[in-house]
Protein backbone atom coordinates (compact mmCIF):
# COMPACT_ATOMS: atom_id res chain seq x y z
CA UNK A 1 0.00 0.00 0.00
CA UNK A 2 1.32 3.43 -0.91
CA UNK A 3 1.47 6.11 1.76
CA UNK A 4 2.45 9.72 2.01
CA UNK A 5 4.25 11.58 4.72
CA UNK A 6 4.84 15.30 4.96
CA UNK A 7 8.34 16.68 5.36
CA UNK A 8 7.49 17.77 8.91
CA UNK A 9 6.12 14.38 9.85
CA UNK A 10 9.19 12.72 8.38
CA UNK A 11 11.29 14.94 10.65
CA UNK A 12 9.24 13.83 13.66
CA UNK A 13 9.64 10.21 12.65
CA UNK A 14 13.41 10.60 12.29
CA UNK A 15 13.59 12.39 15.63
CA UNK A 16 11.75 9.49 17.24
CA UNK A 17 13.99 6.93 15.55
CA UNK A 18 17.09 8.84 16.64
CA UNK A 19 15.82 8.83 20.20
CA UNK A 20 14.78 5.17 20.38
CA UNK A 21 17.56 3.50 18.45
CA UNK A 22 20.75 4.25 16.60
CA UNK A 23 19.89 6.38 13.57
CA UNK A 24 22.38 6.58 10.76
CA UNK A 25 21.78 9.27 8.15
CA UNK A 26 23.52 11.54 5.66
CA UNK A 27 25.34 14.43 7.32
CA UNK A 28 27.11 17.29 5.57
CA UNK A 29 30.35 18.13 7.30
CA UNK A 30 33.27 20.11 5.90
CA UNK A 31 31.91 19.75 2.40
CA UNK A 32 31.51 15.97 2.55
CA UNK A 33 28.15 14.24 2.89
CA UNK A 34 28.46 10.85 4.47
CA UNK A 35 26.44 8.50 6.63
CA UNK A 36 26.90 9.11 10.33
CA UNK A 37 25.00 8.38 13.50
CA UNK A 38 22.75 11.34 14.30
CA UNK A 39 20.91 12.41 17.42
CA UNK A 40 18.23 14.53 15.74
CA UNK A 41 16.61 15.02 12.36
CA UNK A 42 18.00 18.53 12.18
CA UNK A 43 21.51 17.15 11.64
CA UNK A 44 20.47 15.30 8.51
CA UNK A 45 21.39 16.54 5.04
CA UNK A 46 18.79 15.97 2.35
CA UNK A 47 20.53 17.66 -0.54
CA UNK A 48 23.01 15.10 -1.86
CA UNK A 49 23.34 12.85 -4.88
CA UNK A 50 24.86 10.07 -2.88
CA UNK A 51 26.89 9.86 0.29
CA UNK A 52 30.68 9.74 -0.02
CA UNK A 53 30.79 6.49 1.89
CA UNK A 54 28.10 3.87 1.82
CA UNK A 55 25.85 1.78 4.04
CA UNK A 56 28.66 -0.80 4.00
CA UNK A 57 30.24 1.21 6.83
CA UNK A 58 27.38 0.19 9.09
CA UNK A 59 26.70 -3.39 7.99
CA UNK A 60 30.30 -4.39 7.50
CA UNK A 61 32.23 -1.75 9.43
CA UNK A 62 35.80 -0.84 8.57
CA UNK A 63 36.91 -2.48 11.77
CA UNK A 64 35.00 -4.54 14.28
CA UNK A 65 35.85 -6.64 17.31
CA UNK A 66 35.38 -10.38 16.90
CA UNK A 67 36.63 -11.81 20.14
CA UNK A 68 38.44 -11.07 23.36
CA UNK A 69 41.14 -13.38 24.63
CA UNK A 70 43.15 -13.92 27.76
CA UNK A 71 46.40 -15.87 27.43
CA UNK A 72 48.05 -15.75 30.86
CA UNK A 73 49.02 -19.40 31.36
CA UNK A 74 45.75 -20.68 30.03
CA UNK A 75 43.57 -19.51 27.17
CA UNK A 76 40.06 -18.22 27.20
CA UNK A 77 38.17 -16.87 24.26
CA UNK A 78 35.06 -14.77 24.50
CA UNK A 79 33.06 -14.15 21.37
CA UNK A 80 31.89 -10.58 20.88
CA UNK A 81 28.48 -10.11 19.30
CA UNK A 82 27.63 -7.01 17.28
CA UNK A 83 25.84 -4.38 19.24
CA UNK A 84 22.41 -2.85 19.06
CA UNK A 85 19.78 -2.32 16.43
CA UNK A 86 20.08 0.54 13.97
CA UNK A 87 17.99 2.39 11.44
CA UNK A 88 19.67 3.75 8.32
CA UNK A 89 17.95 6.60 6.54
CA UNK A 90 18.58 8.06 3.11
CA UNK A 91 20.01 5.00 1.43
CA UNK A 92 20.09 5.40 -2.33
CA UNK A 93 18.79 2.66 -4.66
CA UNK A 94 22.27 1.62 -5.79
CA UNK A 95 23.34 1.14 -2.20
CA UNK A 96 20.19 -0.81 -1.39
CA UNK A 97 21.16 -3.05 -4.30
CA UNK A 98 24.71 -3.38 -3.00
CA UNK A 99 23.39 -4.97 0.18
CA UNK A 100 21.92 -7.85 -1.81
CA UNK A 101 25.29 -8.38 -3.49
CA UNK A 102 27.07 -8.43 -0.13
CA UNK A 103 24.45 -10.82 1.23
CA UNK A 104 25.34 -13.38 -1.41
CA UNK A 105 28.96 -13.48 -0.28
CA UNK A 106 28.53 -13.11 3.43
CA UNK A 107 25.38 -15.08 4.16
CA UNK A 108 25.16 -17.83 1.57
CA UNK A 109 27.20 -21.00 1.13
CA UNK A 110 28.43 -23.39 3.75
CA UNK A 111 29.47 -20.63 6.15
CA UNK A 112 27.66 -17.49 7.15
CA UNK A 113 29.36 -14.40 8.46
CA UNK A 114 27.44 -14.22 11.70
CA UNK A 115 28.47 -10.64 12.51
CA UNK A 116 27.21 -9.36 9.21
CA UNK A 117 24.10 -11.48 9.49
CA UNK A 118 23.32 -10.08 12.91
CA UNK A 119 23.77 -6.50 11.74
CA UNK A 120 21.62 -7.15 8.71
CA UNK A 121 18.88 -8.55 10.90
CA UNK A 122 19.08 -5.60 13.28
CA UNK A 123 19.15 -2.89 10.63
CA UNK A 124 16.16 -1.16 9.10
CA UNK A 125 16.97 0.34 5.71
CA UNK A 126 15.00 3.43 4.74
CA UNK A 127 15.65 4.07 1.08
CA UNK A 128 15.41 7.44 -0.62
CA UNK A 129 14.86 7.67 -4.36
CA UNK A 130 17.22 9.96 -6.28
CA UNK A 131 16.04 13.37 -7.38
CA UNK A 132 19.24 14.38 -9.09
CA UNK A 133 21.63 11.65 -10.17
CA UNK A 134 25.26 12.76 -10.18
CA UNK A 135 27.23 12.86 -13.41
CA UNK A 136 29.12 9.81 -12.18
CA UNK A 137 26.01 7.68 -11.52
CA UNK A 138 25.41 4.75 -13.87
CA UNK A 139 23.04 2.48 -11.93
CA UNK A 140 20.85 2.10 -15.01
CA UNK A 141 23.66 0.29 -16.78
CA UNK A 142 23.05 -2.63 -14.44
CA UNK A 143 19.28 -2.46 -14.62
CA UNK A 144 18.82 -0.49 -11.41
CA UNK A 145 17.34 3.00 -11.48
CA UNK A 146 16.87 6.14 -9.34
CA UNK A 147 13.63 4.71 -7.94
CA UNK A 148 14.72 1.10 -7.48
CA UNK A 149 13.42 0.02 -4.09
CA UNK A 150 14.58 -3.60 -3.82
CA UNK A 151 16.29 -4.14 -0.50
CA UNK A 152 14.60 -1.26 1.30
CA UNK A 153 12.43 -1.88 4.32
CA UNK A 154 10.77 1.46 3.73
CA UNK A 155 11.18 3.35 0.48
CA UNK A 156 10.65 7.09 0.23
CA UNK A 157 10.20 9.17 -2.91
CA UNK A 158 10.24 12.95 -2.63
CA UNK A 159 7.10 14.27 -4.23
CA UNK A 160 6.86 18.05 -4.12
CA UNK A 161 6.89 19.07 -0.46
CA UNK A 162 5.93 15.63 0.78
CA UNK A 163 7.19 12.07 0.37
CA UNK A 164 5.57 9.04 -1.14
CA UNK A 165 6.31 6.04 1.07
CA UNK A 166 6.08 2.30 0.81
CA UNK A 167 6.77 -0.28 3.49
CA UNK A 168 8.30 -3.28 1.76
CA UNK A 169 9.08 -5.70 4.57
CA UNK A 170 7.94 -6.66 8.05
CA UNK A 171 10.70 -4.51 9.52
CA UNK A 172 9.47 -1.64 7.39
CA UNK A 173 5.84 -2.15 8.38
CA UNK A 174 6.91 -2.12 12.02
CA UNK A 175 8.45 1.32 11.55
CA UNK A 176 5.45 2.70 9.71
CA UNK A 177 2.98 1.19 12.17
CA UNK A 178 5.13 1.75 15.30
CA UNK A 179 7.09 4.98 15.58
CA UNK A 180 5.43 6.14 12.38
CA UNK A 181 1.93 5.68 13.66
CA UNK A 182 -0.28 8.62 12.76
CA UNK A 183 2.43 10.24 10.67
CA UNK A 184 1.62 8.52 7.38
CA UNK A 185 -1.52 8.89 5.31
CA UNK A 186 -2.74 6.59 2.57
CA UNK A 187 -1.72 7.85 -0.84
CA UNK A 188 -3.76 8.05 -3.97
CA UNK A 189 -2.73 4.79 -5.64
CA UNK A 190 -2.65 6.07 -9.23
CA UNK A 191 -0.81 9.26 -8.36
CA UNK A 192 1.64 7.27 -6.25
CA UNK A 193 2.36 4.82 -9.04
CA UNK A 194 2.98 7.76 -11.38
CA UNK A 195 5.55 9.17 -8.96
CA UNK A 196 7.30 5.81 -8.74
CA UNK A 197 7.30 5.48 -12.49
CA UNK A 198 8.79 8.93 -12.92
CA UNK A 199 11.66 8.01 -10.61
CA UNK A 200 12.20 4.66 -12.27
CA UNK A 201 12.42 6.38 -15.64
CA UNK A 202 14.47 9.34 -14.50
CA UNK A 203 17.38 9.94 -16.81
CA UNK A 204 20.82 8.92 -15.60
CA UNK A 205 23.07 10.48 -18.26
CA UNK A 206 26.29 8.62 -17.50
CA UNK A 207 24.35 5.35 -17.46
CA UNK A 208 23.63 5.83 -21.13
CA UNK A 209 27.35 5.94 -21.83
CA UNK A 210 28.20 2.70 -20.04
CA UNK A 211 27.04 -0.47 -21.74
CA UNK A 212 27.59 -3.41 -19.40
CA UNK A 213 25.84 -6.00 -21.56
CA UNK A 214 27.98 -9.10 -22.08
CA UNK A 215 31.09 -7.75 -20.34
CA UNK A 216 31.30 -10.86 -18.15
CA UNK A 217 31.71 -13.06 -21.20
CA UNK A 218 34.05 -10.66 -22.97
CA UNK A 219 36.34 -10.97 -19.95
CA UNK A 220 36.39 -14.77 -20.07
CA UNK A 221 39.29 -14.60 -22.49
CA UNK A 222 40.85 -11.35 -21.46
CA UNK A 223 43.10 -12.36 -18.60
CA UNK A 224 46.29 -12.22 -20.65
CA UNK A 225 45.48 -9.08 -22.58
CA UNK A 226 48.08 -6.32 -22.83
CA UNK A 227 45.34 -3.94 -21.70
CA UNK A 228 45.90 -4.76 -18.02
CA UNK A 229 49.54 -3.81 -18.36
CA UNK A 230 48.70 -0.51 -19.98
CA UNK A 231 45.85 0.57 -17.75
CA UNK A 232 47.34 -0.44 -14.41
CA UNK A 233 50.46 1.68 -14.68
CA UNK A 234 48.69 4.78 -13.43
CA UNK A 235 47.12 3.11 -10.39
CA UNK A 236 48.43 4.56 -7.13
CA UNK A 237 47.76 1.38 -5.21
CA UNK A 238 45.68 3.28 -2.69
CA UNK A 239 42.59 1.71 -1.20
CA UNK A 240 40.20 4.46 -2.21
CA UNK A 241 38.24 2.55 -4.83
CA UNK A 242 37.77 -0.50 -2.64
CA UNK A 243 37.04 1.36 0.57
CA UNK A 244 34.38 3.62 -0.89
CA UNK A 245 32.84 0.81 -2.95
CA UNK A 246 29.64 -0.50 -1.37
CA UNK A 247 30.30 -4.01 -2.66
CA UNK A 248 34.00 -4.57 -1.94
CA UNK A 249 34.32 -6.86 1.03
CA UNK A 250 37.95 -7.96 1.41
CA UNK A 251 39.01 -8.11 5.01
CA UNK A 252 41.82 -9.21 7.26
CA UNK A 253 41.92 -10.43 10.82
CA UNK A 254 44.33 -8.86 13.23
CA UNK A 255 45.17 -9.14 16.90
CA UNK A 256 46.07 -6.48 19.38
CA UNK A 257 47.32 -7.69 22.71
CA UNK A 258 48.88 -6.24 25.80
CA UNK A 259 49.95 -8.19 28.86
CA UNK A 260 48.21 -11.48 28.12
CA UNK A 261 44.94 -9.90 27.07
CA UNK A 262 43.74 -8.75 23.76
CA UNK A 263 41.21 -8.41 21.00
CA UNK A 264 40.93 -9.90 17.57
CA UNK A 265 39.50 -7.51 14.98
CA UNK A 266 38.24 -7.81 11.50
CA UNK A 267 39.30 -4.85 9.33
CA UNK A 268 38.76 -3.95 5.72
CA UNK A 269 41.63 -4.82 3.46
CA UNK A 270 42.13 -4.01 -0.18
CA UNK A 271 43.18 -6.13 -3.13
CA UNK A 272 44.90 -2.98 -4.36
CA UNK A 273 47.45 -3.09 -1.55
CA UNK A 274 50.82 -4.60 -2.46
CA UNK A 275 50.99 -6.96 0.52
CA UNK A 276 47.46 -8.24 0.22
CA UNK A 277 48.34 -11.65 -1.21
CA UNK A 278 51.94 -11.81 -0.03
CA UNK A 279 52.54 -15.10 1.78
CA UNK A 280 54.56 -15.63 4.93
CA UNK A 281 57.39 -17.13 2.88
CA UNK A 282 57.56 -14.05 0.64
CA UNK A 283 55.90 -15.40 -2.52
CA UNK A 284 53.29 -13.04 -3.94
CA UNK A 285 50.99 -14.34 -6.68
CA UNK A 286 49.99 -10.75 -7.51
CA UNK A 287 53.34 -9.01 -7.37
CA UNK A 288 52.60 -5.90 -9.45
CA UNK A 289 49.88 -3.36 -10.10
CA UNK A 290 48.94 -5.24 -13.23
CA UNK A 291 47.79 -8.33 -11.35
CA UNK A 292 46.10 -6.28 -8.65
CA UNK A 293 44.16 -3.99 -10.95
CA UNK A 294 43.16 -6.96 -13.07
CA UNK A 295 41.97 -8.80 -9.98
CA UNK A 296 39.70 -5.97 -8.90
CA UNK A 297 37.92 -5.67 -12.20
CA UNK A 298 37.87 -9.38 -13.01
CA UNK A 299 36.38 -10.02 -9.58
CA UNK A 300 33.56 -7.54 -10.11
CA UNK A 301 32.80 -8.29 -13.73
CA UNK A 302 33.75 -11.93 -14.25
CA UNK A 303 34.61 -14.04 -11.18
CA UNK A 304 31.71 -12.88 -9.01
CA UNK A 305 29.21 -13.22 -11.88
CA UNK A 306 30.44 -16.81 -12.37
CA UNK A 307 29.76 -17.64 -8.74
CA UNK A 308 26.75 -15.51 -7.94
CA UNK A 309 25.16 -14.65 -11.29
CA UNK A 310 25.24 -10.87 -11.05
CA UNK A 311 27.86 -8.16 -11.33
CA UNK A 312 29.59 -7.02 -8.17
CA UNK A 313 28.93 -3.38 -8.97
CA UNK A 314 25.82 -1.28 -8.79
CA UNK A 315 26.97 1.74 -10.76
CA UNK A 316 27.04 3.97 -7.68
CA UNK A 317 29.87 5.89 -9.33
CA UNK A 318 31.99 6.34 -6.23
CA UNK A 319 35.10 4.92 -7.85
CA UNK A 320 34.39 7.09 -10.88
CA UNK A 321 34.28 10.19 -8.73
CA UNK A 322 36.96 9.33 -6.21
CA UNK A 323 39.75 7.33 -7.82
CA UNK A 324 42.50 9.95 -7.91
CA UNK A 325 43.73 8.76 -11.31
CA UNK A 326 40.43 8.05 -13.05
CA UNK A 327 40.96 4.29 -13.13
CA UNK A 328 37.38 3.20 -12.59
CA UNK A 329 35.03 0.44 -13.53
CA UNK A 330 32.97 2.40 -16.06
CA UNK A 331 36.14 3.27 -17.93
CA UNK A 332 37.38 -0.29 -17.83
CA UNK A 333 34.07 -1.59 -19.20
CA UNK A 334 34.24 0.90 -22.06
CA UNK A 335 37.92 0.15 -22.72
CA UNK A 336 37.49 -3.62 -22.76
CA UNK A 337 34.61 -3.30 -25.19
CA UNK A 338 36.77 -1.05 -27.33
CA UNK A 339 39.72 -3.44 -27.31
CA UNK A 340 37.43 -6.36 -28.14
CA UNK A 341 35.74 -4.42 -30.93
CA UNK A 342 39.11 -3.76 -32.55
CA UNK A 343 40.45 -7.26 -32.00
Amino acid sequence: MLLTITADNLKSLLDKLARDSLLVAPVLEDGVTRLKPVKAASEIALDYSNTATSIKDFLFPQSEDLLRFVTDGTLSIEEIKPERAQVAFGIRPCDLASVALMDKVLTTGEYADTHYQARRKNTVLIGLACESPADTCFCTSYGYNPGHSAGADVMLYKDGDQYLAEALSDKGREVVGGPGEGLFKPADEAAGQAVKKAYAEKEVPFGKEVDVEGIDQLLDNFFDDQYWDDVSKKCLGCGTCTYVCPTCHCFLLTDEARGGEGLRFRCWDSCMFANYTKMAGGHNPRPSKKERVRQRFMHKLNYYPHRYHSYLCTGCGRCVAMCPVGLHIAGVIKDVKGVKAHA
Binding site: L67, I77, E110, Y111, A112, G262, C271, A280, R286
Partner: protein, 279 residues
Amino acid sequence: MPENPLVPSVATIDRITPETAASDVKTFQVTFDDPAVMERFNYMSGQCAMLSMFGVGESMISITSSPTRRGFLEFSVKRTGRVTDVLHEAVEGQKIGVRGPYGNHFPLEMLKGKNLVFIGGGIGLAPLRSLINNVLDNRKEYGRIDVVYGARSPGDLCFKYEVLENWTKYENAQVHVTVDRGDETWTGPVGFVPAFLEQVNPSPRDAVAVTCGPPIMIKLVLQSLAKLGFTDDQIVTTLEMKMQCGVGKCGRCNVGDKYVCIDGPVFTLSQLKQLPPEF
Protein backbone atom coordinates in the same frame (compact mmCIF):
# COMPACT_ATOMS: atom_id res chain seq x y z
CA MET B 1 31.28 -24.45 19.58
CA PRO B 2 31.46 -20.74 18.64
CA GLU B 3 28.62 -19.52 16.49
CA ASN B 4 30.92 -17.34 14.38
CA PRO B 5 33.01 -19.39 11.96
CA LEU B 6 35.86 -16.93 12.43
CA VAL B 7 36.12 -17.71 16.14
CA PRO B 8 38.40 -20.64 17.02
CA SER B 9 37.99 -23.22 19.77
CA VAL B 10 40.57 -23.77 22.47
CA ALA B 11 42.89 -26.73 21.94
CA THR B 12 45.93 -28.08 23.78
CA ILE B 13 49.24 -29.04 22.25
CA ASP B 14 49.84 -32.55 23.65
CA ARG B 15 53.02 -33.42 21.84
CA ILE B 16 55.67 -31.61 19.82
CA THR B 17 57.98 -33.63 17.56
CA PRO B 18 60.86 -31.92 15.81
CA GLU B 19 60.97 -33.36 12.28
CA THR B 20 64.11 -31.91 10.78
CA ALA B 21 67.67 -31.71 12.04
CA ALA B 22 67.46 -27.93 12.18
CA SER B 23 64.06 -28.17 13.92
CA ASP B 24 62.57 -25.78 11.38
CA VAL B 25 59.72 -28.25 10.94
CA LYS B 26 57.84 -29.54 13.97
CA THR B 27 54.77 -31.71 14.27
CA PHE B 28 52.18 -30.57 16.81
CA GLN B 29 49.69 -33.09 18.14
CA VAL B 30 46.62 -31.24 19.32
CA THR B 31 43.27 -32.02 20.98
CA PHE B 32 40.33 -29.71 21.55
CA ASP B 33 39.61 -29.02 25.21
CA ASP B 34 35.90 -29.55 24.65
CA PRO B 35 35.35 -33.24 23.77
CA ALA B 36 32.19 -32.30 21.86
CA VAL B 37 34.23 -30.07 19.54
CA MET B 38 36.76 -32.87 19.07
CA GLU B 39 33.96 -35.29 18.27
CA ARG B 40 32.45 -32.96 15.68
CA PHE B 41 35.71 -32.09 13.98
CA ASN B 42 35.26 -34.53 11.10
CA TYR B 43 37.86 -34.01 8.46
CA MET B 44 39.14 -35.66 5.33
CA SER B 45 42.72 -36.01 4.10
CA GLY B 46 43.78 -32.85 2.32
CA GLN B 47 41.75 -30.47 4.46
CA CYS B 48 43.31 -27.69 6.51
CA ALA B 49 42.68 -25.89 9.75
CA MET B 50 43.38 -22.37 10.94
CA LEU B 51 45.73 -22.28 13.92
CA SER B 52 45.60 -19.23 16.20
CA MET B 53 48.45 -17.85 18.20
CA PHE B 54 46.57 -15.17 20.10
CA GLY B 55 48.15 -11.77 19.98
CA VAL B 56 49.99 -12.65 16.78
CA GLY B 57 47.47 -14.08 14.38
CA GLU B 58 46.43 -17.12 12.44
CA SER B 59 47.93 -19.44 9.90
CA MET B 60 46.27 -22.02 7.66
CA ILE B 61 47.96 -25.38 8.06
CA SER B 62 47.16 -28.70 6.41
CA ILE B 63 46.11 -31.51 8.68
CA THR B 64 48.79 -34.17 8.54
CA SER B 65 47.13 -36.79 10.70
CA SER B 66 44.84 -39.30 9.05
CA PRO B 67 41.10 -39.23 9.78
CA THR B 68 41.35 -42.99 10.19
CA ARG B 69 43.19 -42.39 13.45
CA ARG B 70 40.77 -40.46 15.63
CA GLY B 71 41.12 -38.61 18.90
CA PHE B 72 43.77 -36.06 17.94
CA LEU B 73 44.92 -33.78 15.15
CA GLU B 74 48.44 -33.35 13.85
CA PHE B 75 49.93 -30.36 12.10
CA SER B 76 53.43 -30.24 10.70
CA VAL B 77 54.56 -26.68 10.53
CA LYS B 78 57.56 -25.04 8.95
CA ARG B 79 58.85 -21.82 10.47
CA THR B 80 58.14 -19.21 7.83
CA GLY B 81 56.66 -16.14 9.46
CA ARG B 82 55.27 -14.42 12.50
CA VAL B 83 52.63 -16.95 13.45
CA THR B 84 54.70 -20.03 12.81
CA ASP B 85 57.66 -18.49 14.67
CA VAL B 86 55.54 -18.18 17.78
CA LEU B 87 54.03 -21.61 17.32
CA HIS B 88 57.54 -23.04 17.15
CA GLU B 89 58.26 -21.53 20.55
CA ALA B 90 55.21 -23.23 22.07
CA VAL B 91 55.69 -25.97 24.66
CA GLU B 92 53.70 -29.14 25.28
CA GLY B 93 50.58 -28.38 27.28
CA GLN B 94 50.21 -24.92 25.79
CA LYS B 95 46.81 -23.77 24.54
CA ILE B 96 46.20 -22.54 21.03
CA GLY B 97 43.10 -21.83 18.95
CA VAL B 98 41.97 -24.09 16.14
CA ARG B 99 39.12 -23.67 13.65
CA GLY B 100 38.18 -25.76 10.69
CA PRO B 101 38.34 -28.14 8.96
CA TYR B 102 38.46 -26.14 5.74
CA GLY B 103 38.57 -26.79 2.05
CA ASN B 104 38.03 -29.76 -0.15
CA HIS B 105 39.98 -32.99 0.22
CA PHE B 106 41.84 -35.56 -1.81
CA PRO B 107 39.36 -37.41 -4.05
CA LEU B 108 39.33 -40.81 -2.31
CA GLU B 109 36.60 -42.10 -4.59
CA MET B 110 38.77 -41.38 -7.60
CA LEU B 111 41.77 -43.10 -5.96
CA LYS B 112 39.97 -46.31 -4.97
CA GLY B 113 41.20 -49.35 -6.89
CA LYS B 114 43.97 -47.36 -8.53
CA ASN B 115 47.73 -47.62 -8.36
CA LEU B 116 48.88 -44.57 -6.44
CA VAL B 117 52.01 -42.50 -6.86
CA PHE B 118 52.61 -39.97 -4.11
CA ILE B 119 55.25 -37.38 -4.86
CA GLY B 120 56.32 -35.06 -2.08
CA GLY B 121 59.03 -32.53 -1.49
CA GLY B 122 60.13 -31.34 1.96
CA ILE B 123 57.26 -30.23 4.16
CA GLY B 124 54.96 -30.83 1.16
CA LEU B 125 54.70 -34.37 2.45
CA ALA B 126 52.49 -33.15 5.32
CA PRO B 127 49.11 -33.24 3.51
CA LEU B 128 50.19 -36.36 1.61
CA ARG B 129 51.03 -38.11 4.88
CA SER B 130 47.40 -37.80 5.93
CA LEU B 131 46.33 -39.37 2.67
CA ILE B 132 49.03 -42.06 2.67
CA ASN B 133 48.17 -43.24 6.18
CA ASN B 134 44.49 -43.09 5.26
CA VAL B 135 45.12 -45.29 2.22
CA LEU B 136 47.39 -47.65 4.12
CA ASP B 137 44.76 -48.04 6.84
CA ASN B 138 42.43 -49.27 4.09
CA ARG B 139 45.17 -51.06 2.19
CA LYS B 140 42.90 -53.49 0.36
CA GLU B 141 40.95 -50.81 -1.42
CA TYR B 142 43.90 -49.52 -3.41
CA GLY B 143 46.43 -50.96 -5.87
CA ARG B 144 50.18 -50.59 -5.85
CA ILE B 145 51.58 -47.67 -3.86
CA ASP B 146 54.74 -45.73 -4.65
CA VAL B 147 55.88 -42.89 -2.44
CA VAL B 148 58.51 -40.66 -4.02
CA TYR B 149 59.89 -38.25 -1.47
CA GLY B 150 62.75 -35.84 -1.49
CA ALA B 151 64.24 -33.11 0.65
CA ARG B 152 67.19 -30.78 0.43
CA SER B 153 69.37 -32.89 2.73
CA PRO B 154 68.97 -36.00 4.88
CA GLY B 155 68.37 -33.72 7.85
CA ASP B 156 65.43 -32.10 6.06
CA LEU B 157 63.45 -35.34 5.61
CA CYS B 158 60.21 -35.26 7.61
CA PHE B 159 58.27 -38.12 9.19
CA LYS B 160 61.37 -40.33 9.00
CA TYR B 161 59.92 -43.12 11.15
CA GLU B 162 57.02 -43.58 8.78
CA VAL B 163 58.79 -42.85 5.51
CA LEU B 164 61.84 -45.00 6.11
CA GLU B 165 60.32 -47.81 8.20
CA ASN B 166 56.60 -47.99 8.71
CA TRP B 167 55.33 -47.41 5.16
CA THR B 168 57.82 -49.83 3.62
CA LYS B 169 56.33 -52.67 5.65
CA TYR B 170 53.02 -52.62 3.82
CA GLU B 171 52.35 -55.04 1.02
CA ASN B 172 52.88 -53.77 -2.50
CA ALA B 173 54.05 -50.41 -1.18
CA GLN B 174 57.39 -48.91 -2.08
CA VAL B 175 59.06 -45.84 -0.73
CA HIS B 176 61.69 -44.04 -2.81
CA VAL B 177 63.65 -41.33 -1.06
CA THR B 178 66.12 -38.87 -2.48
CA VAL B 179 67.98 -35.83 -1.22
CA ASP B 180 69.30 -32.85 -3.17
CA ARG B 181 72.61 -33.05 -1.34
CA GLY B 182 73.81 -36.06 0.66
CA ASP B 183 76.05 -36.11 3.72
CA GLU B 184 78.46 -38.62 5.27
CA THR B 185 75.59 -40.73 6.67
CA TRP B 186 73.50 -40.80 3.51
CA THR B 187 73.75 -43.91 1.34
CA GLY B 188 70.57 -43.48 -0.67
CA PRO B 189 69.93 -41.73 -3.99
CA VAL B 190 70.95 -38.12 -4.52
CA GLY B 191 69.14 -35.81 -6.95
CA PHE B 192 66.10 -33.58 -7.37
CA VAL B 193 62.63 -35.05 -7.07
CA PRO B 194 61.48 -34.60 -10.70
CA ALA B 195 64.49 -36.38 -12.22
CA PHE B 196 64.34 -39.03 -9.49
CA LEU B 197 60.67 -39.57 -10.28
CA GLU B 198 61.57 -40.25 -13.88
CA GLN B 199 64.12 -42.84 -12.70
CA VAL B 200 61.53 -44.52 -10.47
CA ASN B 201 59.44 -44.54 -13.63
CA PRO B 202 55.99 -45.39 -12.25
CA SER B 203 53.53 -46.64 -14.83
CA PRO B 204 50.54 -44.40 -15.60
CA ARG B 205 48.35 -47.46 -16.19
CA ASP B 206 45.38 -47.43 -13.82
CA ALA B 207 47.32 -44.93 -11.76
CA VAL B 208 46.79 -41.57 -10.13
CA ALA B 209 49.68 -39.33 -9.09
CA VAL B 210 49.28 -36.99 -6.13
CA THR B 211 51.94 -34.34 -5.61
CA CYS B 212 52.64 -31.64 -3.02
CA GLY B 213 55.70 -29.55 -2.45
CA PRO B 214 57.32 -26.23 -3.17
CA PRO B 215 55.84 -24.53 -6.28
CA ILE B 216 59.00 -24.92 -8.35
CA MET B 217 59.16 -28.63 -7.57
CA ILE B 218 55.49 -29.10 -8.45
CA LYS B 219 56.03 -27.34 -11.73
CA LEU B 220 58.85 -29.71 -12.73
CA VAL B 221 57.10 -32.79 -11.33
CA LEU B 222 54.10 -32.03 -13.54
CA GLN B 223 56.41 -31.98 -16.55
CA SER B 224 57.99 -35.28 -15.51
CA LEU B 225 54.59 -36.89 -15.00
CA ALA B 226 53.55 -35.78 -18.47
CA LYS B 227 56.72 -37.36 -19.83
CA LEU B 228 55.85 -40.58 -18.03
CA GLY B 229 52.48 -40.58 -19.76
CA PHE B 230 50.18 -39.37 -16.96
CA THR B 231 47.22 -37.39 -18.30
CA ASP B 232 45.98 -34.19 -16.64
CA ASP B 233 43.07 -36.11 -15.14
CA GLN B 234 45.47 -38.55 -13.49
CA ILE B 235 47.35 -35.85 -11.62
CA VAL B 236 46.20 -34.34 -8.36
CA THR B 237 47.97 -31.48 -6.58
CA THR B 238 47.37 -28.74 -4.03
CA LEU B 239 47.60 -24.95 -4.17
CA GLU B 240 48.85 -22.63 -1.49
CA MET B 241 47.60 -19.05 -1.16
CA LYS B 242 47.60 -16.49 1.59
CA MET B 243 44.48 -16.93 3.68
CA GLN B 244 42.64 -14.97 6.34
CA CYS B 245 39.11 -16.25 6.77
CA GLY B 246 39.25 -19.78 5.38
CA VAL B 247 35.54 -19.65 4.65
CA GLY B 248 35.30 -17.93 1.29
CA LYS B 249 34.51 -14.42 2.54
CA CYS B 250 37.66 -12.34 2.92
CA GLY B 251 38.47 -12.54 -0.76
CA ARG B 252 42.21 -12.94 -0.88
CA CYS B 253 42.80 -16.59 -1.75
CA ASN B 254 41.08 -16.62 -5.11
CA VAL B 255 42.56 -17.94 -8.30
CA GLY B 256 40.12 -16.83 -10.94
CA ASP B 257 36.61 -17.60 -9.71
CA LYS B 258 37.78 -20.30 -7.28
CA TYR B 259 38.52 -19.66 -3.63
CA VAL B 260 41.37 -21.92 -2.63
CA CYS B 261 40.11 -21.99 0.97
CA ILE B 262 36.77 -23.56 0.12
CA ASP B 263 37.07 -24.84 -3.46
CA GLY B 264 40.68 -26.04 -2.97
CA PRO B 265 43.35 -26.70 -1.95
CA VAL B 266 43.10 -29.97 -3.94
CA PHE B 267 42.79 -29.75 -7.72
CA THR B 268 43.39 -32.14 -10.57
CA LEU B 269 45.78 -30.81 -13.15
CA SER B 270 42.96 -30.52 -15.66
CA GLN B 271 41.01 -28.36 -13.20
CA LEU B 272 44.09 -26.22 -12.59
CA LYS B 273 44.51 -25.65 -16.29
CA GLN B 274 41.06 -24.06 -16.36
CA LEU B 275 42.25 -21.41 -13.90
CA PRO B 276 44.25 -18.30 -14.69
CA PRO B 277 47.94 -18.87 -13.90
CA GLU B 278 47.98 -16.63 -10.86
CA PHE B 279 49.22 -18.67 -7.92
